[in-house]
């Protein structure tokens, strides 16, 4: 007895030290909700690109803003006032609302550098024939409705290089201007497009940027002479999505933990009728949660919000152990030791079974899944260990809970008759199998969008604003890598030539390239060399105007400009500063890890997606160029995870069977334990399919949990000698354990976050089914 007491004290001390350590680790833990949990640990080049783009790319830095309500002039005024304020804010690289902020500077830049920038500048164009052709084109343009816009340019730019450049730049569609600010096509909202300085993955910075936008909106509202309360601000974009999903996950995890804790506490209080029992019963849970978070923090360096959500659900499972201890043991200290002797081996086996199942997740290449696996393993071990070694010593001498023998006896009678349900259960199970087999092709959703915690309403808003704005979705990219800026720009120019052919063939609507704004130095030199010396140009021009309704003297300014361009300094990236082109070059030309990369986003023809094969074929001669379909790539990434997770789970099942076989050395007993679990899994899967819910990776985690939790029930119902009846207390403990699990997980089913919801709808019914199937298919004691 003294020995037990001393070892009990030691266990308590060790436990407290352990808890302190966990709290210490958790206090330094970084919590994330971004996509990092979904990114692979060892990416391919395409995946690496996907990751970079998701976390840091141009698209990730865009915030689309809409102003709704009020009337069009008010919206436009709010837009202009907000833009004015935000343009002065360092948080934003650019704030666009259609106001001609850079237009003047852009035009000056383009016009001043037209002979370096225009792809039409070739030696042939400045031959007498080339000039004649270019001039007659320009004169024809004068006759057209657009002539008005080019008339003043003719003397300096008779070959129409400026028109060439403007045509290239204006290839994208821009929103309409209403009252001097961008508006949606239906005219119901003003539009703004902002680029943040911080990366899209920097959720705190994105939140800060959102707050700055909101503040600018509020201040603009305050300046309104007649208050305009009907005006509303909406925002969307990848950064906005990560901020709102973080908020959603945080809010839901907090709310669900509080509610589930309250529910479980109420349930336990009803059962135990003792506050001390309730408090003590939650100790293993708290230990498990702390251990789980600390383990993930140590193992992964950061904890994802979803893992925390999972933690709240785990409360429902970890509380089982203390229920088993309190309900199954008699009402005195000696009996707690007796419980340890009689029931602990069974529970230990249940814990081991669960660990075998979850260990498979640790091998997943999907960090999010591996986090859940580690969390579950650490949490379950901690909860079970605390129940076994710490809790009995903490129980006061007079500890007792409400007498449950009446409930136990009733359950006992019910369990006796459960066998009568064998046939109906078998039919249900057969039907479930039939549904699963029949719907096997549509059981899983392997689109990554299914994981997104972003609500449908937000996705629709995003689609709407994006369509209004004509904003790039940056789905298709050609990526060119190289050792220097010059080499990637040169390669981009070669790729552009290939892509231009695709545009002309109608495979592409268009594409963007950094070399358009910043041609490689060699191309710039070649363009300079295309311009002949002034005397030669003058002679050729005189020949070129033959037969055209213009005099050569008109073009004296052109001769001077062309001559100056021959020796003008070549364009550098820094020359673009303060122009709209700088933003494009910054986004499309990236230096990272000592390597240069140029991105060439492709635009699909309207209403069609891009056919990758002809483009890959066209690029096949260029080993440095890579065609990436970001959406296909991310879907492929996720479906890879999903299939890997399915294989790993099957591996986990094999491990569980192996473990049971090693312990029992009887195929029949293993079968009897596995059968109710398999039946529960099958029925839940069929049920989800029947309700039209396609399974995502978190349903799979849920099924693993069903196996983990259900294995305890199956083990309790399993007895080597069918003549020993199951104790009524054991039955009562299983009922309460399953009720707490259902309370913990069932709540998740009501979450808006698909990841949490998936676990809830799987585990709650699965656990109940596992209990029923275990009871129904247990060997009958009176047999």
């Amino acid at each position: 007895m003294t020995h037990t007491r001393r070892s009990g004290t030691a266990a308590i001390v060790l436990w407290l030290i352990f808890l302190l350590a966990c709290v210490g680790i958790i206090s330094r833990t970084h919590f994330t909700t971004d996509l990092s949990a979904f990114l692979p640990r060892s990416p391919t080049p395409e995946q690496q690109l996907l990751m970079d783009q998701l976390s840091d790319g141009l698209a990730s830095r865009l915030i689309l803003v809409g102003i709704e309500g009020a009337d069009a002039p008010t919206r436009a005024r709010l837009s202009r006032q907000m833009a004015q304020r935000l343009r002065a804010d360092r948080t934003f690289v650019s704030v666009n609302n259609g106001e001609p902020v850079n237009t003047e500077r852009d035009r000056d830049f383009l016009f001043g550098n037209r002979y370096l920038l225009s792809p039409a500048v070739t030696p042939e164009r400045f031959s007498a024939d080339g000039l004649h052709a270019a001039l007659s084109d320009s004169i024809d343009l004068l006759a057209s409705p657009a002539g008005l816009l080019v008339k003043s340019l003719l003397p300096r730019d008779p070959t129409g290089e400026m028109v060439q450049l403007l045509e290239q730049l204006n290839s994208g569609t821009q929103p309409e201007l209403v009252e001097g600010a961008w508006a949606s096509r239906d005219g119901t909202r003003a539009l703004m497009l902002m680029q943040t300085r911080a990366a899209g993955s920097d959720t705190d910075a994105q939140q800060f940027a959102m707050a700055a936008i909101r503040q600018a909106f509020d201040q603009a509202l305050d300046q309104a002479p007649g208050a305009t309360p009907s005006a509303q601000l909406v925002m969307t974009g990848p950064g906005v999505f990560s901020v709102t999903s973080r908020d959603t996950i945080k809010r839901q995890v907090t709310r669900l933990s509080i509610i589930s804790l309250a529910l479980i506490a109420t349930l336990l209080l009803l059962v135990y009728r003792s506050f001390s029992a309730l408090a003590l019963g939650l100790l293993p849970v708290i230990s498990g949660v702390l251990a789980g978070i600390a383990a993930v923090s140590l193992g992964f360096g950061a904890v994802h919000g979803i893992t925390l959500g999972f933690g709240t659900a785990l409360i429902g499972e970890a509380v089982d152990y203390s229920i088993y201890l309190f309900v199954q043991s008699e009402q005195n200290r000696a009996d707690h030791q007796n419980w340890i002797k009689r029931f602990w081996p069974t529970i230990r086996l249940g814990v081991l079974t669960s660990i075998a199942g979850f260990a498979s997740l640790l091998l997943s290449g999907f960090p999010g899944l591996a986090q859940l696996g580690l969390y579950a393993i650490a949490g379950l071990i901690a909860a079970a260990t605390v129940t076994r070694f710490v809790l009995p010593s903490l129980l006061p001498a007079n500890f007792h809970i409400h007498d449950l023998s009446a409930i136990g006896l009733t359950l006992s009678r019910v369990a006796q008759r459960a066998a009568a349900l064998r046939w109906p259960a078998a039919i249900v199970l057969l039907a479930a199998c039939a549904i699963v087999v029949n719907n096997r092709a549509s059981l899983w959703n392997d689109k990554i969008a299914s994981l997104s915690p972003v609500s449908q309403a937000d996705v629709e808003l995003d689609t709407r604003l994006r369509a209004d704005m004509g904003a790039p979705d940056v789905r298709y990219l050609v990526v060119v890598s190289g050792a220097s800026q010059e080499s990637v720009l040169r390669a981009s120019e070669r790729v552009s030539t290939l892509l231009q052919t695709q545009v002309e063939q109608g495979e592409l609507a268009g594409f963007e390239t950094p070399s358009r704004y910043l041609p490689s130095l060699s191309t710039q030199r070649a363009r300079q060399a295309s311009l002949p010396p002034r005397p030669i140009l003058e002679t050729r021009l005189a020949q070129a105007v033959q037969g055209l309704p213009v005099r050569a003297q008109l073009f004296t300014p052109f001769l001077a400009d062309a001559d100056a361009a021959r020796s003008q300094p070549l364009l550098q990236a820094s020359d673009l500063q303060q122009t709209s082109m700088a933003m494009a070059v910054d986004a499309l030309l990236i230096q990272q890890h000592g390597q240069w990369r140029a991105l060439l986003p492709l635009t699909a023809p309207e209403g069609v997606s891009i056919d990758a094969d002809p483009i890959r074929a066209a690029l096949s001669a260029m080993p440095d160029a890579l065609f990436v379909d970001m959406k296909a790539e991310s879907d492929r990434l996720y479906s890879g995870y999903l299939h890997e997770a399915i294989v790993l789970s099957l591996g986990g099942l094999v491990a569980i069977i192996g473990l049971l076989f090693v312990v029992f050395r009887s195929p029949m007993r293993v079968l009897r334990i596995i059968a109710p679990l398999a039946a529960a899994v099958m029925t839940v899967t069929a049920g989800l399919s029947l309700f039209g819910q396609q399974m995502i990776i978190l349903h799979l985690v849920g099924l693993l949990l069903v196996v983990a939790v259900g294995s305890n029930y199956a083990l309790f119902f399993d007895r080597p000698d069918p003549r020993t009846p199951i104790l009524p207390r054991t039955l009562a403990s299983m009922l309460f354990a399953s009720l707490t699990t259902v309370a913990g997980f069932g709540l998740l089913a009501f979450s808006d976050v698909s990841l949490l919801q998936a676990m809830g709808v799987t585990v709650a019914p699965g656990v109940i089914l596992a209990l029923f199937y275990s009871a129904i298919f247990a060997r009958q004691s009176d047999a």
């Binding site: 024809d140 003397p155 309409e176 309704p549």
Partner: protein
């Protein structure tokens, strides 16, 4: 122009005489509203045009010709066949220009000067008085048989480019559109109706 005025004057005189002898009919000059109502009666029209542009930097005027198609209220197509094929389609505020391989789509609102020119034709053909009055000050001269409508831009920004637009017509049909730019350059488009007005 003077050539045409004389028979026109005779016609007017005849009409005036007729009105004198018929006391039941009130003599009244053509009002803009009447003209617009008359123009609005033709929901659709097809015509050929010849356009002469006189531009100071060019030694001689450039001529172009082609076809016009108007479908009320918002679609106007101008298909230039000579000297180079070119299509300009205005449909509900969106201007599409096609030259050779190139195609441009513009929001007309973004280009007030161009919009001023094209809207004047569209709105006149449609008999859309409100649209015209938004952009121009209107002055109508003549009678239903022969009228002249002069549009002067209200917006000084448009006025800096377009001095005025002068349209001539007979009954419910526009015969010519002359655009006089602020810098003295001008274009004259004469319109020859193809299909009879419906």
């Amino acid at each position: 122009m003077t050539r045409l005025t004389r028979p026109h004057f005779r016609l007017c005189a005849l009409v005036w005489l007729a009105l004198l002898v018929s006391p039941l009919v009130q003599a009244a000059p053509l009002s803009i509203a009447q003209l617009m109502a008359g123009l609005a009666k033709h929901p659709q029209g097809e015509a050929t045009f010849t356009e002469t542009k006189t531009i100071s930097i060019l030694e001689q005027p450039i001529e172009s010709s082609g076809e016009l198609l108007f479908i009320a209220p918002a679609r106007l197509e101008k298909r230039t066949l000579k000297p180079k094929p070119e299509t300009m389609v205005l449909d509900d505020g969106i201007l599409t220009l096609e030259r050779g391989q190139r195609k441009h789509v513009l929001q007309l609102k973004d280009y007030p000067e161009v919009a001023g020119m094209i809207e004047s034709i569209r709105a006149t053909l449609a008999g859309d008085l409100k649209a015209l009055e938004r952009v121009y000050q209107l002055a109508l001269d003549g009678s239903h048989e022969r009228w002249t409508l002069v549009l002067t831009p209200l917006d000084p920004k448009v006025g800096a480019v377009i001095a005025r637009i002068r349209m001539e017509g007979v009954k419910d049909v526009v015969r010519s559109v002359e655009i006089i730019q602020a810098d003295g350059d001008r274009s004259l488009m004469t319109i020859e109706q193809l299909a009879p007005p419906q």
